[in-house]
């Protein structure tokens, strides 16, 4: 297993944000997380990345307990929100820094950035604009590229398609599919866009009020299922 969650619980006051008995994600699996606002998607990701201390439970990425060791940081790429970016740097300077953390040389970095050129669409590099002055969409491109820069084994992205223009959404989808098939990257992706997420992910988990209420392997009828669920908002459509 690449990622293992046991008995995880996180409450904010009396409100239960995440409550998961057990969740295991296999190596190379692409895992999609869907759910309405407040379902606990971001909280779950933050717990996984040791940004929030869970009330109980443990999380392992590889053999590394995320709250006890930091080994996982060397092979886990993640982007949840702008807090992951350093606003006063140019994208190039930010990539430089991330690359140096993983011992990537300047030459290798240039090669890797070429790989993201289609995603950037000429709007990120060489622009002389600090990251904080970029549009939301371009900030997201920087964040995703930085998460992928060092060939992570595990990739965690929160709402990667939101704020991106349609062309970039398609490019990102292609990129993620390629990572899955060519490099066997384990991916955790949350999204409100059911079409994209069913296309990229082979396994979809539905979160409601912090609980896993559905765990499905993507099949042609998955999208229909999910659409029915969200149209009925938690009615009995899926309770078979």
């Amino acid at each position: 297993m690449e990622l293992q969650i046991e008995n995880l619980k996180k409450q904010f006051g009396s409100y239960t944000a995440v409550d998961i008995d057990s969740l295991a994600i296999a190596s190379g699996e692409s895992f999609g997380l869907v759910g309405n606002n407040g379902a606990g998607k971001t909280t779950l990701f933050r717990c996984i990345l040791d940004l929030i201390e869970p009330d109980q439970g443990s999380i392992f990425i590889g053999n590394s307990n995320t709250s006890a060791s930091s080994d996982w940081k060397s092979f886990t790429g993640s982007y949840l929100d702008e807090n992951f970016l350093v606003g006063h740097l140019l994208p190039e300077e930010y990539f430089d820094f991330v690359a140096s953390l993983h011992g990537i040389t300047k030459v290798d970095l240039q090669e890797k950035l070429v790989y993201f050129e289609t995603l950037f669409n000429g709007e990120v590099l060489g622009g002389k604009k600090l990251i904080r002055d970029l549009s939301k969409g371009n900030q997201k491109k920087v964040g995703i590229a930085a998460a992928l820069l060092f060939d992570p084994k595990v990739l965690i992205l929160d709402e990667p398609f939101a704020n991106l223009d349609p062309s970039t959404q398609f490019r990102l989808k292609d990129l993620l599919k390629k990572l899955k098939y060519d490099k066997g990257v384990t991916m955790l992706i949350s999204s409100h866009d059911l079409i994209h997420v069913t296309e990229v992910c082979e396994r979809i988990v539905l979160l409601e009020k912090g609980k896993l209420i559905k765990d499905i392997h993507t099949a042609p009828e998955t999208l229909k299922d999910l659409e029915n669920y969200f149209a009925g908002v938690g009615s009995s459509v899926l309770e078979d």
Binding site: L49, L51, K73, H88, L90, K129
Partner: protein, 501 residues
């Protein structure tokens, strides 16, 4: 009218619900006390104004010539200076009226109404109100001693001028933003007027007297300040009316920034690289940059100290001076140690950076800037080699001990610093730890020095400062390790505080 009431209620709510008001009780208390103190001073000054003026000897004006209004005519001789200083203070310190106008623009409220509201609101600014505390009692006396018409003319004119300057300052601030050229220009004007007066080339007292006396002698001249007020109001209105578009008021001037690659420090590995990033941070954000400029300004502090005559506590004044030039940055920057990183703390937590490296890079900033300040203070050798030696001892202590203490206190209960705000009169991020822990740590060298000086000579005490400092520098790794493990246990709490504002 109804809209204005609604707008007032919005303002009231925004003031009442301002996060600063709730999170920052101590600072608010401090600000309120400061304000009350100032107001009391001004009021006392206002009541004593005529007595003070009576003491001022001015030839050409005697009791006999102007039996009723000679005090007023004396005051008139100073008014030009008064309004000049008033304007400079306003330009530096008064804040632009901030009505969160963006969310209102698409609502059915006429733009003109919004603008009038925004402009009229500034009347209540303390920069206007405090002036009436000074001049108010005097205005009252003017009514008692002069005939109604001249008195009315004078009082109204002064009132109009106060508000005209209010609108002029706002207009300049808004159109030219905060431009250092205007700062320098203002200071130059002020300086040259001072010089012209001092060398008796132009008698501004006389000019001022002539101008303001005419308000009493020819009451119709009240029209001039009235027109000035209308004009300054009108240019503000006009400007806002033409510029009240989202693209213009949301001040996102995307400055072009050039790529800066690895510098000298990067050769020392990751910590060096992070130190360089920190310098980029300081240079590219207004508030930390102001800290750096402040540090540079204080380098000249010695010129005040060393040109003073001898005082019995001289050695303490010298140590204070040495603390300030080599430790000002440590204190000013270090008090928000983690708060500076509030907007990208999650980045630090998820990257392959250990907290030890993180703290070490923070320490490097202090060491580098402290050392540069030390080197820049070498010219003080002009006042004696002893001075330089003293600076060096205190410098070692600051780098070795004060820096470590500030690093600890700066990590304690940090608040995210809003980097989009400028630094003038900005209290955001200031909390109890600043007042109770960090400011006092500036006095550490003095306390240590005084304690040792009880038992030993001055030289021994100074040498002890240096030795303690050196020990501290050698112990940096150990101290950083302790800080890192402390941060390790507090990381979730701090990160969530930053995320929530």
């Amino acid at each position: 009218m109804n809209t204005v009431v609604q707008l007032l209620r919005l303002e009231w709510k925004s003031a009442l619900r301002s996060p600063v008001l709730h999170k920052n009780l101590l600072v608010n208390l401090f600000l309120v006390l400061t304000f009350l103190y100032l107001a009391a001073n001004f009021l006392v000054l206002g009541f004593l104004l005529d007595n003070i003026l009576m003491e001022v000897p001015i030839d050409g004006i005697t009791n006999k010539l102007f039996p009723d209004d000679w005090v007023l005519r004396k005051l008139n001789r100073f008014l030009i200076y008064y309004f000049l200083v008033d304007f400079v203070v306003r330009y530096f310190m008064q804040k632009l009226p901030a009505l969160a106008i963006q969310p209102l623009l698409h609502l059915p409220i006429s733009k003109a109404k919004l603008i009038h509201f925004m402009l009229l609101k500034t009347v209540l600014s303390p920069f206007n109100m405090l002036q009436f505390l000074v001049l108010g009692p005097f205005m009252f006396e003017v009514f008692q001693n002069l005939e109604t018409l001249p008195a009315l003319s004078w009082v109204l004119s002064i009132t109009f001028l106060i508000f005209a300057l209010n609108y002029l300052a706002i207009y300049l601030k808004r159109t030219a933003d905060v431009d250092w050229r205007i700062y320098v220009g203002l200071l130059a004007v002020l300086g040259s007027i001072g010089a012209l007066t001092y060398f008796e080339i132009v008698d501004f007292f006389k000019i001022s007297g002539l101008l303001f006396n005419s308000l009493i002698d020819y009451p119709v001249t009240v029209l001039v300040p009235a027109l000035a007020l209308l004009f300054t109001y009108w240019i503000n209105f006009k400007y806002l009316k033409n510029n009240l578009y989202l693209s213009r008021i949301s001040k996102r001037q995307d400055k072009e920034v050039n790529y800066v690659g690895d510098g000298f420090l990067s050769r020392f590995g990751l910590v060096g690289k992070m130190t360089e990033l920190e310098f980029k941070f300081i240079w590219r954000n207004k508030r930390p940059r102001a800290v750096l400029l402040m540090t540079a300004l204080f380098l000249g502090y010695g010129l005040i100290i060393f040109t003073q005559d001898e005082t019995p506590m001289k050695i303490y004044a010298y140590i204070m001076f040495a603390i300030i030039i080599t430790g000002m940055f440590i204190l000013n920057y270090g008090q928000y140690l983690l708060g500076w990183d509030g907007s990208h703390f999650d980045h630090i937590l998820t990257r392959r950076v250990s907290f030890e490296q993180y703290y070490l890079s923070k320490y490097m900033i202090f060491a580098v800037v402290g050392t540069v300040c030390m080197i820049l203070s070498i010219p003080y050798i002009y006042f004696g080699a002893n001075i330089l030696l003293l600076i060096f001892c205190v410098y070692l202590f600051n780098i070795g001990v004060t820096a470590h203490v500030v690093m600890f206190f700066g990590s304690f209960n940090p608040k995210k610093i809003d980097l989009s705000q400028s630094s003038m009169m900005n209290w955001q991020g200031v909390g109890a730890s600043q007042f109770l822990l960090i400011l006092p740590s500036l006095g550490l060298p003095i306390v240590v020095f005084a304690l040792i000086n009880v038992f030993a000579t001055t030289n021994v005490a100074l040498a002890s400062l240096a030795i303690i400092g050196l020990t501290g520098i050698l112990g940096t790794k150990l101290w950083v390790k302790l800080l890192a493990s402390w941060l390790q246990s507090k990381r979730h709490e701090i990160a969530s505080d930053f995320r929530n504002g």
